[in-house]
Symmetry: C2
Subunit: 354 residues, 2 copies
């Protein structure tokens, strides 16, 4: 089968805006990109498809015009909320994209899946997408296992180790110092006062807001700033690192059962090197990447994170994410066009519509 | 000075409703009480004074009629939100209560202070009021120290060890089990599924609600139920007990500086019994009480709580709360009438208006 050619479109719809990219396949020059800081609205039907299209279609037409092209052969839309709030997207996008852009192949993906594809491409492994929230996804590329997912349950039920988690823990430690309770940090209390003003007024400022997780996460960099000289702040980042590694460990694809039993037994009996090598190839390791805005916390988080990943995933190989969710959306769209999709179609994580 | 006589009114305005009680001073028969399950509204001006009066004034008139009395000499209003949301109450209540009920003496108190007075009366000590939220207050009855307060910062910044805290931790442990992350509890996951349904649908059910802390707290009894057979649930309650004791320890009045230096030195040198005895009287201990709905969690919480109080407050004497916040409001009102108030007037915790 000869590889298909044409243009593919990637869409990344997140809490802080929408990004669109157009790629010629086979590649001839850089991807063309467009960005908006207006996020897709979330209404009673979930993520609003017509609002999303109102930004994506003009952007796509403009990118196509710059590329001198008439149509998009394949599209992948990665969106925050796709898993639980994607009903309207599923209902509206297929026919709308077909009519407006001539799209033949369409994939709808959770933003965690496009983050995965952006970070690791179509290799097996695990990716933690960590910003204000946190979710981990992993796959061994088999249809039986599909996608494994951990956390991503929001700031009250989880998102453990995320920016909101770190910021919240930092603010709690500051209030403990204010009260004279155990576990307080005067360094964090000073930062709270500098950022938010008098501590007793913080509850009235925080609780009425709709963007509470973002407010909490805005304090995370202060925790990182205090960590080098403050044991309480350092402990918060150590616990965050542990939680991030726990999420990665939960989704990291296991050696396949049949092979594990054999190779692990053989490896142990013979005292050989890591038996996982047989499953994951020459490196003997599953690739694990952490991606997203939380990486901007720098060494005070990344140093313990490196240690925790080694501790909890001794067989895994920590790698740097190759790209961002928008790159991942392009990767999936290109794989659709060229009939080379290796990532498992496993709704609601990754739905191949046509 | 001869003791004053007349009728006093106590008001307890909380998140789950309003309660009013009338007492004859000196006592002649039981207090008369009235209760409503409609809480005072909270608007842009904070707790709505006219809404509160709309319930309290008819109730007071009805209780006065039953008592065959014409007027209230003294009133204490204890209200959730008094500290940070009490502007409207301070502006409206004094003249309204004077005109409607002939009130001469009025105290406005944080609900934590009426909880304190209900639990310990006018003795020095520390009280933790724990339900959906958690706040600790303590006093040595001196004006210099006034009231010490710890926590009460709400479910994102604190309320550590509260019902919302325990329920949230239990739900997180359940989601961890669902994900296969470390720290999960399958027992709690079963309870989550029984109470809320499929775990992936919980975020969409929880986050849009205005009463998120109450939803979280509604799961706390399940944690208590699982604790006897589930180490994760038991650990949550152990940590809650630690936090509750930390709040108590932060507000427990210290032996007074001058006396402490003398008596502690004397005690240690002579190998005598606890030198704190000189400060706190014959028992040698500061009374500490935990009060509120969290006590309904029973032994799985109360056993570790007893241990933690002994560990963190070795000089304190854990006592059972004598009464509830409504009793505390009556206690303060009666003390106003009889000019025998020992609890420190220390706004915004306790404000003697007239």
């Amino acid at each position: 089968m000869s590889p298909a050619t044409g243009h593919v479109l990637g869409v990344d719809s997140g809490g802080s805006g929408i990004r669109v990219a157009l790629r010629a396949v086979p590649g001839s020059g850089p991807d063309l990109t467009w960005a908006s800081s207006v996020p897709a609205a979330v209404g009673e039907q979930g993520v609003d498809a017509r609002g999303l299209l109102g930004q994506v279609l003009p952007a796509a037409r403009s990118l196509l015009a710059r590329a001198g092209a008439q149509r998009c052969e394949a599209v992948c839309v990665g969106a925050a909320g796709m898993i639980s709030l994607g009903a309207d997207l599923r209902a509206v996008l297929p026919s709308a994209l077909r009519e407006a852009l001539g799209v033949r192949r369409l994939a709808l993906a959770a933003d965690a899946v496009t983050a995965y594809a952006g970070a690791l491409g179509q290799r097996p492994g695990a990716v933690v997408a960590a910003g204000t929230g946190l979710i981990a996804v992993g796959t061994d590329l088999t249809a039986e296992c599909g996608w494994r997912r951990a956390d991503g349950w929001g700031h009250l039920l989880g998102d453990c180790g995320s920016g909101a988690w770190i910021g919240r823990a930092g603010l709690e430690a500051a209030m403990r110092a204010y009260d004279g309770r155990a576990g307080g940090s005067h360094a964090l209390l000073e930062r709270l006062e500098a950022v938010f003003g008098p501590p007793p007024e913080l509850p009235a400022a925080l609780y009425p807001r709709a963007d509470r997780p973002a407010v909490l996460a805005s304090f995370a960099p202060e925790v990182s700033r205090c960590a080098p000289g403050d044991p309480v702040a350092a402990d918060i980042l150590r616990r965050a690192a542990r939680h991030i590694a726990e999420a990665a460990a939960a989704v990291c694809p296991a050696p396949r059962p049949g092979r594990e039993a054999t190779s692990a037994a053989t490896g142990r009996q013979a005292g050989l090197a890591d038996p996982a090598a047989e499953v994951y190839g020459t490196g003997g390791a599953c690739d694990v990447a952490v991606t997203g805005g939380l990486l901007r916390m720098g060494a005070p988080l990344l140093a313990p994170l490196h240690e925790e990943l080694q501790l909890q995933l001794p067989h895994a190989c920590p790698v740097t994410a190759a790209g961002e969710p928008l790159d991942g959306a392009l990767c999936v769209a290109e794989a659709l066009l060229t009939d080379s999709l290796l990532l498992p179609a496993d709704p609601p994580m990754l739905r191949i519509v046509c």
